[in-house]
């Protein structure tokens, strides 16, 4: 696009522009694509991740770059438009010839770009917790799979808090549906009766929670300890928590554990009525570790604002980026195929004081932390797994996927190997 000429007549400009689009010449820098929405509905979450990536790349360059070259970030804006994600991904890979792409937030954006990465054989690092049920040669999942977030959280509620009745409330889309399906199967396997599970779905941006919260309250009045497992997404959380507070559902009566509410989301909520409600993540800003203090400090310095918070997807990018850097150093090249081979087993420190490793299924190992909301908008860790939990691409609790395993090491090199039929489908 460099040589695009601007003529007065638009059409001629368009045609000429497309004809004269010249390939970028061999680079003296290593380019890294950043594919996060900077406008539209998802900008609220994704802009932060773009800044995180810029910071990480900046720091790496200060350390001397990679393979003796400087890193260069290529930022594009897919504008929260899912087809545009695929288009921009193609642009990054073919036009800008980036070595790897860090990006996407929503599942649908990842689904949209996935075929592009597979077709052009490039690398995508995906930093957000998601519903699992995917394993691609070209994608590295640094966010939590359901077994790294949902199931430990339910275990905590069941074992530590004695919860007997469950409300699974979510926004009506794939992530909550899948997570709740997994959880319902898990709970039943643990002996929870059908009538002790209430499942509820609401539309995106749902703002009138009166009846649902009243239902939850009634459900919780049956004499058994009740908890809400919330996969409610985005903007719908604020009115949900406000209604909880107003109807007097405090955390000691019916605790709510959320999988999509982090520090950034809390900064838009008055958290005083929410103290004690829970969230399950792999990282909290309040985590006590030296790595974390350094990270927060450099983040504040980079963004020039002391009030900005850090959150779990940021840590995921931190891990993902460092793993990639290490894998490239190990492979000695940024060639995607070489990096794919080198990356499995690469281990880097995470921010909560442990080490995260890239697993053969392209997920990583992480600790699972349960935090309680504090009145200052932070979480206080109240429980954590004793060690690292490895991400599971295919859930053991779903009919279709319990027989699938993923292992990208040779000779298997398959994302969805069926142990029953002994076949790798989709190949």
């Amino acid at each position: 696009m460099k040589a695009r000429t601007h003529k007065s007549t638009w059409l001629i400009a368009l045609i000429l522009g497309t004809l004269f689009s010249v390939q970028v010449q061999a680079a003296e820098t290593i380019k890294v694509g950043v594919l996060h929405s900077l406008s539209g509905t998802m900008a609220i979450s994704e802009t932060t991740l773009k800044d995180t990536m810029l910071m990480l790349i900046d720091e790496q360059n200060k350390k001397g770059g990679l393979l003796g070259k400087k890193l260069e970030a290529v930022v594009v804006d897919p504008a929260s438009d899912w087809p545009l994600f695929a288009e921009k991904a193609r642009e990054l890979i073919t036009k800008n010839q980036v070595a790897a792409v860090f990006g996407c937030w929503t599942s649908v954006s990842r689904k949209s770009v996935l075929p592009v990465f597979e077709e052009l054989n490039s690398l995508l690092f995906y930093p957000v917790q998601y519903e699992g049920e995917e394993s691609s040669r070209n994608v590295f999942y640094t966010g939590a799979a359901p077994n790294q977030q949902a199931i430990p959280a339910v275990d905590y509620l069941m074992n530590e808090m004695g919860v007997k009745r469950w409300v699974l409330a979510g926004t009506d889309y794939v992530y909550p549906r899948t997570t709740n399906k997994i959880l319902a199967a898990y709970l039943k396997a643990k002996g929870v009766a059908e009538k002790d599970i209430m499942i509820n779905y609401t539309p995106f941006g749902h703002s009138d929670w009166q009846s649902i919260v009243a239902d939850i309250k009634k459900f919780g009045n049956a004499g058994k300890k009740t908890a809400v497992v919330s996969t409610i997404n985005g903007d719908a959380n604020v009115p949900f928590y406000k209604e909880l507070g107003n109807q007097g559902i405090t955390s000691d009566i019916i605790p709510v554990v959320a999988f999509s509410v982090g520090e950034e989301e809390l900064s838009g909520i008055d958290t005083k009525p929410l103290v004690g409600h829970l969230a399950a993540w792999n990282y909290f800003m309040s985590v006590d570790s030296e790595m974390n203090d350094d990270f927060i400090e450099s983040w504040h310095a980079f963004i020039k604002n002391e009030d900005r918070v850090t959150n779990d997807p940021m840590e995921a990018h931190y891990i993902g980026f460092n793993i990639w850097v290490k894998a490239v150093e190990k492979a000695g090249t940024t060639d995607p195929t070489a990096v794919q081979d080198a990356i499995i087993g690469v281990t880097v420190p995470n921010l909560s004081g442990g080490y995260s490793a890239m697993m053969p299924n392209h997920h990583i190992t992480k600790p699972v932390l349960i935090g309680e909301i504090q009145d200052d908008g932070q979480f206080e860790v109240v429980w954590q797994t004793s060690g690292m939990v490895a991400g599971d691409a295919w859930s053991d609790y779903l009919q279709g996927s319990k027989d699938l395993v993923s292992d990208w090491r040779k000779p298997m090199a398959c994302g969805n190997f069926n142990v029953k039929t002994g076949k790798c489908s989709g190949k």
Binding site: I15, A79, A86, V108, K111, V116, R177, S425
Partner: protein, 362 residues
């Protein structure tokens, strides 16, 4: 042919069609024949982008036909576009067959992980291309027909109609977001492998799709031209300006509106069907009312009630969008918003109105 006679009177149309033809021929050649690195090489990325614009242009034609010529400001054309897209998407999903992640030969992946036992009835038949193509036409047409049947008969007009069309597409948006609907919920349909046996990732297939879009746009243009220049078309503008008078000279206005509206929905559906393999995904966001309003804006920017204006507007605004989201992501909404305001205030006849001024007043 009558159409050619009409075309001769439509200078802007001739230029536009000529350029479309040039593009349809030149771009594939530049993509396949010209080696990479050459100045004249068109990358697959660029070609896919242009293909997308062509689909949008066809969609804009559909909007212009009902808004520019019939005076129905539809804020729901995204619904027809998306339905066409979904029909195509369902065909492409069925084509994946057992290459899905779960290896289920019949069920698409999202159904497997939602523990669906069998294919819902409305997914039957989509394994055949002809059936899917029939649905691409029929489903939007049927929706438009039923909606129009009620709306035009009870003489809902103007703003009310616009708001109702908006409600229609909004209702569909919510419905398609639901996982239980069986259309993949929020994630929509994606990860397509091939079409009619040709791999969607092959350059040759992409070229084919590009040509198909160009041809569809040209045919769409000619059919719209034929309609608008016919007696029926003149009657449409008459309805737009003096609906009562048309009734009093003996025409059933509701029927005319109904058929034109339905035809426009079909055009939109076809545009949607072509759009899906270009971008590789169809999801409920396409139903969003905002998307539909944007379509109207393409037409307004290009110049309503001129077919080439619609084509020009669609390509121009989308090109600007592609460019601005890269060049200035933070400011691009300002630019788009300002464009709307300025065009409605200063250029009621669109950008092509600047060129057109002389020939109309003559």
């Amino acid at each position: 042919m009558v159409v050619l006679k009409y075309l001769k009177q439509d200078r802007g149309g001739m230029i536009t069609l000529g350029l479309i033809a040039l593009l349809t021929i030149a771009v594939p050649i530049c993509n396949l024949m010209v080696p990479e690195g050459n100045v004249f090489h068109v990358s697959t990325f660029t070609m896919t982008l242009l293909g997308k614009y062509l689909c949008y242009a066809l969609l804009a034609l559909a909007v212009d036909l009902v808004w520019g010529y019939l005076g129905i400001l539809s804020l729901g054309h995204g619904a027809f576009f998306s339905l066409g897209g979904y029909a195509m998407g369902m065909y492409l999903m069925r084509q994946i067959g057992s290459r899905g992640v779960y290896g289920n030969p019949l069920l698409p992946d999202f159904m497997v992980f939602l523990n669906w036992e069998q294919l819902p009835w409305f997914w039957q038949g989509f394994q055949w291309f002809w059936f899917a193509m029939l649905m691409v036409v029929l489903v939007p047409a049927l929706l438009a027909f039923v909606f129009g049947w009620f709306a035009f008969r009870s003489r809902v007009t103007g703003v009310y109609l616009s708001i109702m069309t908006q409600a229609l597409t909004y209702a569909l948006l919510l419905a398609f977001y639901r996982n239980e609907m069986g259309f993949g919920g929020n994630n929509g349909l994606t990860d397509f492998k091939d079409i009619l046996g040709f791999s969607l990732q092959a350059d040759a297939t992409r070229v084919g799709l590009f040509i198909a879009s160009g041809v569809a746009l040209a045919l769409g243009y000619l059919s719209c031209l034929y309609i608008t220049r016919s007696r029926l078309g003149r009657l449409c503008t008459a309805i737009r300006d003096q609906e009562d008078r048309v009734r009093f000279i003996g025409f059933k206005v509701e029927n005319i509106k109904l058929w034109i509206f339905t035809f426009s929905a079909i055009l939109a559906g076809v545009a949607g069907a072509l759009y899906v393999p270009h971008v590789g995904i169809i999801n409920p966001n396409e139903f969003s009312p905002l998307a539909s309003i944007e379509m109207v804006v393409w037409v307004a920017v290009g110049g309503r009630a001129t077919l080439y204006g619609a084509v020009v507007g669609a390509i121009m605004v989308n090109y600007a969008k592609s460019y601005l989201t890269v060049a200035m992501p933070d400011a691009w909404l300002f630019a788009l918003g300002a464009l709307f305001v300025l065009v409605t205030l200063l250029l009621p006849r669109g950008v092509t109105g600047l060129v057109r001024k002389k020939e109309v007043d003559a």
